[in-house]
């Protein structure tokens, strides 16, 4: 089975006719099959409709109104047409949020993927004790993101934090360390660093599995052809890992667009919107400013952006396959 088919963004060929067993030609047997099928489908389908489709439709409707989170007896909810959309498209915070999501995707996704691949190659060697390192590299993955953010906020403390003291130490005091989370230029990079730290182990494992799936004969053949280690990596390993890489790329991209937890714990989108993300803005507008209509507008636009990315990925990957 190909990796493309497990990832949400890739085109899915649904079987024309579901192959399967004939449970019998009797009417009663047929009916039992249908009844079972619906019974089996009902719980999940109901939940999907209630908790995904209905709220999504509601978001569409709310985006055309000035719905408040807490209804007020003096100001009833009104239909306001496209006002929310017009305002959103002149909202600096929104552009900043979208920009940051893309920035995160563009910087973190390749970095993290490359880093994960490097780690996987390192621990795929025949060395003593290499499994201990695998465990260590993977361990941040099991730490809750909130805890990760809290611990790193201490390390990033501008005055006393370990990271700045370490920077001073290794540069003999020549580096003037930044204010990290309090500085508009460094706050988002700081969040990127801790996100990579936490997440890279996960992808490393997926790459490792990919590496171990590569048939040894391929390396053998390459060696016979006179390829050295480096050439083997570029000519055998990378092409063989194509599907794995695509999977890692896609999942990280989705995570980049959902970015919320670490930002909320550390900066809440500040200083001066420098760490604003779409979900942070959506939460702030909906839950803090109580502006459900506007928040829903963000949700709708956000959905279209994600949709566009999925379509682009599909087109791009189809191109690749040819």
């Amino acid at each position: 089975m190909k990796v493309e088919e497990t990832s949400p963004e890739v085109s899915v060929e649904i079987a024309e006719k579901v192959p399967g067993v004939n449970f019998g030609s009797l009417k009663s047997q047929k009916r039992r099959e249908v009844i079972t099928a619906w019974l089996f489908s009902a719980p999940s389908l109901t939940l999907l409709v209630v908790f995904l489709i209905v709220p999504f439709v509601m978001a569409f409707i709310f985006s055309l109104t000035d719905q408040r989170l807490i209804p007020n007896r003096y100001v009833p909810t009104a239909f306001i047409g496209l006002r929310n959309y017009l305002r959103l498209f002149s909202d600096d915070a929104f552009y900043r949020a979208i920009f940051n999501n893309f920035l995160f995707a563009i910087v973190v996704v390749p970095t993290q993927t490359a880093f994960a691949l490097l780690l996987a190659v390192l621990i795929n060697q025949n060395l003593k004790g290499v499994r201990i390192f695998r465990t260590i590299y993977f361990s941040p993955v099991v730490i809750t993101m909130v805890v990760v953010a809290v611990v790193w906020s201490n390390l990033f403390n501008p005055g006393q934090g370990f990271i700045n003291q370490f920077l001073k130490f290794i540069s003999f005091g020549r580096i003037k360390p930044p204010g990290w989370l309090t500085d508009t230029h460094y706050a988002f990079p700081a969040i990127m660093i801790l996100s990579v730290w936490q997440g890279v182990g996960f992808q490393m494992i997926i790459f490792l599995a990919g590496l171990q799936d590569i048939p040894a004969e391929l390396y053998e053949a390459a060696r016979v052809d006179g390829a050295n280690k480096q050439q083997q990596f570029w000519l055998v390993t990378l092409p063989q890992l194509k599907n794995t890489t695509i999977f890692v790329f896609l999942t990280t991209t989705i995570l980049a667009f959902k970015l919320f937890t670490q930002v909320w714990v550390l900066t809440k989108g500040g200083p001066q919107n420098s760490t604003m993300t779409t979900i942070v803005l959506l939460y702030r507008q909906g839950f803090i400013q109580l502006n459900v209509g506007y928040s829903s507008t963000i949700a709708v636009v956000f959905f279209f952006i994600v949709l566009m990315i999925s379509i682009l990925q599909r087109v791009f990957l189809k191109e690749q396959r040819r």
Binding site: S41, S44, L48, M58, K258
Partner: protein, 288 residues
Amino acid sequence: MARSKRIKVKTVMIFKNFIKYFILIALALFFLFPVVFMFVSSVKTNEMQVVSDMSSFRGFIPYGALGIKNYINVFREMHFGRFMFNSLFITSITVLAGMVFNSMLAFSLARLHFKGQRFIVSIVVALMIIPIESVVIPMLLMVNTVGWIDSYQVQIFPFIAEPFFIFLFYQFFIGIPYDFDEAAVVDGATPSMIYSRIIVPLSRPVFASVLILQSMFRWNEFLWPLMVTQGPKYRPLTVAMQQFFSQDPRLWGEIFAFASMVTLPLLILFLFFQKWFIQSVASSGIKG
């Protein structure tokens, strides 16, 4: 001649290995230092020392007044046990229900025949691109109408069915050969027997992957409980951690003790089931 060459090769080997280990250890330090820092600081009972050690390598050395005072204080000041229970309860019920219901839907889509089947499959695929984060605000208004705010069910129900997992199951089930089914049908098996006696036992890897992935997602959930929990009664660890952290004055010793208690059980669990855990994660990326 030959011998000196061999020695040379050997030295090169040793040197190469040395470099390799050097890189491995440097990276290990990068991944370990925040964790070690957290554990070490949590057992330092003098808050002044925790703060002054923050800025140097002393932060990694357990010395001075050590003890579990910070841990005791966390328990005394807040309902840590309650938060832990809430997180465990919510995660386990959601994941358990999720595995059963999602696999059941996937089963009927992949192995049974009924009208509307193809349509449902395409709906599930389409739903995969709606991030649940984007619909939280309307969902909040919705669950409020049934009085669910601040409860367990509000943190469980919305996350049971997940299109991505349904799809993982679907892919796996479609790949299972039909020989077994046929034999079973000849023996008079009903569709639900096929599910429970053939498909589920044959699908352990995909169940394991979903178990791991969904548990991780649920355990880390932050945005939704931040909105729908009020008191400590139904609050999960993530939100409790963030609120403890944003409280004034910030006592780092206790914060690290809290963080350690959140982390330690999972870390131990991971170390015990490491092989299985890593296999499941690995197979989630490779096979469907």
